[in-house]
Symmetry: C2
Subunit: 99 residues, 2 copies
DNA sequence: TTTCGTGTTCCATTTTAAGTTAACTTTGTC
DNA sequence: GACAAAGTTAACTTAAAATGGAACACGAAA
């Protein structure tokens, strides 16, 4: 994968694509981007549990393609999906701290 | 609001409506029910911030009816909506612990 | 008892996650 | 390289979230 030359150029790319920071569109992008990070967590937990995407999918009655999309940050999942994957599928407990 | 006579009768009600614990339908109900609890958290945080539903709605460019539905556990919100409400709208930080 | 602020509900449309299938790519092993 | 297992992607349908708007409910205060 090609790396960005520097952060400035990446920021400029975002400015172009989604407007400057603080604009509604840019804020929305940043919120979504943050939500997509959950995929990394799920991937890590699945690997810790030594499961393939297909095995995890089977546990929750889904398909491996569904897991793949989520792990790669391509889906803004519902809260219930978060619980279904981490708690029901992987036997973890999720604690949501607000501070 | 009417209280349940006892837990047994409520469990029986769930058994009837969604099948016994462990069945796919019942599990799905329990996962959703858990996800819906977030509404309470949002309501509490909004009140702590001394905002009306309409004021919070304005902050995130939404309508008060949208906030009301979520606070009352009538929507299985996306992760981005969680961040939009608590972080962007109410200035809180969300930490998601998995254990 | 009327008005006002706040919250709830209902009905509508648009958008998107969820779910499925199948083809494709990557990766590891022989 | 051949092969199989694991993972990715695209295209599609279905269900539900997101969203808006208006009507309604309700308590408090005027």
């Amino acid at each position: 994968m090609k790396k960005n030359k520097n952060l400035t150029s990446f920021d400029e790319h975002l400015d172009e694509q989604y407007g400057k920071r603080g604009t509604a569109k840019r804020t929305e992008f940043e919120i979504k981007a943050k939500a997509f990070l959950i995929g990394e967590v799920i991937k890590d937990e699945r690997r810790l549990a030594n499961l393939t995407q297909e095995q995890l999918a089977d546990k929750i009655g889904a398909k491996k393609s569904f897991i793949s999309r989520i792990e790669n940050g391509k889906s803004d999942i519902q809260l219930s999906t978060l619980y279904r994957l981490l708690e029901f599928g992987l036997g973890r407990k999720i604690e949501l701290l607000v501070h």
